[in-house]
Amino acid sequence: MIEMKLPALGADMDEGKLLEWRVHPGQVVHKGDILAVVDTAKAALDVESWHDGTVAELLIEPGQTVPVGTLMARLLEPGETAPAHEPKPPAAPATAGRRPVSPAARRRAAELGVALDSLRGSGPDGVVTLRDVEQAAAGVAPARDRSVEIRRTIAAVMVRSKREVPHYYLSDDIPLAAATDWLREANAGRPVAARILMAALCLRAVARAAQRHPTMNGHFVDGAFRPSAVVNLGVAISLRGGGLLAPAIAGAESKTTAEIMQALADLVARARSGTLRREEVTDPTLTVSNLGDQGVRSVQPIIFAPQVAIIGFGLVSDRPWVLEGKLAVMPVVTATLAADHRVSDGHAGARFLAEIGANLQHPEAP
């Protein structure tokens, strides 16, 4: 018997609301199959199966909010048969004795004629609070205001980062004539929807450089830096309702430019529709923030701790550039590296930034 528990789908997640089951009892599932969709403070996320097996029983109802670690379902291992009399899980505490309801909620429920049995408590220890009653009476599902939650999460992460991480900043102007030429050629035969953007080239240049500069790629946890073997490249994506997410393109260092473009388009679409997968939310090892389309010249970003570096790209614009002793006009971008001084020094950062610039001069490199 395999026990499937609600995983933590993000460092700050402590509970989740089951939106739907994607499987039913008796269904055969394989490792990687999507079992359920769970709503967290950040987004609706897919929960995958970590095992092959057969769904034996589903223990949580859609709409229920449960803490991380709660047993959600049982799966039979391949070859295993269901026990004849699997004991039913204990009934919900709602039916066991008196429901914990705050005095104010109890009085209001009586006034409004709301049945307390139907309510899920949001107070400490699951106590039904006044707000739960009033929302039930108004017929409002106790949905969270996602933009508020996201704002709060951003505030917590950024405050922590600015307080704990000693940032240093390095900037460089990178000429993009070669990259622009390459893009023009690569996009010549493509339909508009499949065109590669400069952002994808920048991401790839960063991913390739990060592979050779391990002190930029990883996490600083419990007082020590843990470098990452792969480059899961976070991309800061602003949301329409305000706020932003920075999901990752996993293994970006081994992807081609076209693959990165595809992954980027996919991430942006799913971040904005709120259907990201857990690895993408939890796993970035290094992040890129691109504010060029907002017309700013440079970006001095804040590191998403526990990551140790972030690169900000500004607007790609035609600027005067001295080339072989002569003044030329060509597209140029300002790239800014913010890195964690506990892990790396300016010298290492400068070499990393220089390599990003060098990579962008050779977009065709494998």
């Binding site: 005095p103 104010a104 009085r107 107070g123 609070t129 707000r131 969270r144 917590a156």
Partner: protein, 328 residues
């Protein structure tokens, strides 16, 4: 007109004003004259007002508090300074059994217009015998009015109305507040009857007084960073307690945490807690909580003393738990 002033200076200014305003006002206590007060509150007053009105007392709390009562009965307006609340235990008979009762024992023929000031509280590594917070004991006693100024405004403004009060008034000055500076609004009037909303908020009410006010406000600031808006009530007057301000606030926020430096068992926080559930039970959305000092004689070691006292983190944790998960 507003100015910045320390709590100590505010107390001294209040004393000076009272001594100037009314020739019947006098100050008596250990080291209040030549030494300028154990906490330097009365520094300079002996030189300004003379030994007849600023009187150094021997180390005999029972004696000099009794002398204060006698002076009050005889028509003066004495202010008695007891060095700390710990030493007031030696004068409890005078305060509880004489000052608080004479009006009643005499059928209203006598009253005792006495003001007793004393330092209270821990936090200065003075160990188990000099770190008490016994405000709750005095607030238990009918016949006394008990004040706990936590701000420079109250330090400056509470003494005069206390002197005008016809019955004994006990003023607790927290030892950790003496050096705290604050803004004094010269035009602001100060009563000795009502609690004060020190910070407005809608999500829960933090109720405190005296030396715990600064860290409770700090906790409220920290909670605000999480989007939790805590209202902070500075009780100011522990007896008679201003129930109306407390209940109005709790009826709005529906959650209350009482922060008190003293021990939990039988503490003043328990009294506030009891009143809330008596008067506002059906307004509550969560059980009333207390954050109190640990129930140990105060340790000397700094880190142990710190651990024995309510902390900002402790207040924040209790408040967060009380709020629970917000559905929206």
């Amino acid at each position: 007109m507003s100015s910045t002033i320390t709590y100590r200076e505010a107390l001294r200014e209040a004393l000076r004003e009272a001594l100037q305003r009314d020739p019947k006002v006098m100050l008596i206590g250990e080291d209040v004259g030549r030494y300028g007060g154990s906490y330097a509150v009365s520094k300079g007053l002996l030189e300004e007002f003379g030994a007849a009105r600023i009187r150094d007392a021997p180390l005999s709390e029972l004696g000099f508090v009794g002398a204060g009562i006698g002076a009050a009965l005889g028509g003066l307006r004495p202010i008695v300074e007891i060095m700390t609340v710990n030493f007031s235990l030696l004068a409890l008979d005078q305060i509880v059994n004489t000052a608080a009762t004479l009006r009643y024992m005499s059928g209203g023929q006598f009253h005792v217009p006495l003001v007793v000031r004393m330092a209270t509280g821990a936090g200065r590594q003075l160990a188990a015998q000099h770190s008490h917070s016994l405000e709750g004991w005095f607030a238990h006693v009918p016949g006394l009015r008990v004040l706990a100024p936590a701000t420079v405004q109250d330090a400056r403004g509470m003494l005069w109305p206390a002197l005008e009060h016809p019955d004994p008034v006990i003023i607790f000055e927290h030892g950790q507040l003496y050096n705290v500076a604050g803004t004094l609004d010269a035009a602001g009037s100060v009563d000795i009857a009502r609690a004060r909303i020190a910070r407005g908020g809608r999500d829960l009410t933090l109720i405190t007084f005296g030396g715990m006010l600064p860290r409770t406000l700090e906790a409220a600031t920290e909670l605000a960073a999480d989007g939790i808006e805590a209202e902070v009530i500075d009780l100011r007057v522990l007896r008679p307690l201003d129930d109306a301000t407390i209940m109005r606030s709790v009826a709005r926020t529906r959650r209350a945490v009482i922060v008190e430096e003293a021990w939990r068992s039988g503490g003043f926080a328990a009294e506030v807690c009891a009143r809330i559930q008596e008067q506002a039970f059906f307004e509550l959305d969560a059980p009333v909580q207390r954050v109190c000092g640990e129930e140990v004689p105060m340790p000397y070691a700094r880190q142990l003393e710190t651990a024995a006292l309510p902390s900002v983190a402790g207040i924040v944790a209790v408040a967060r738990r009380l709020i629970g998960r917000r559905p929206a």
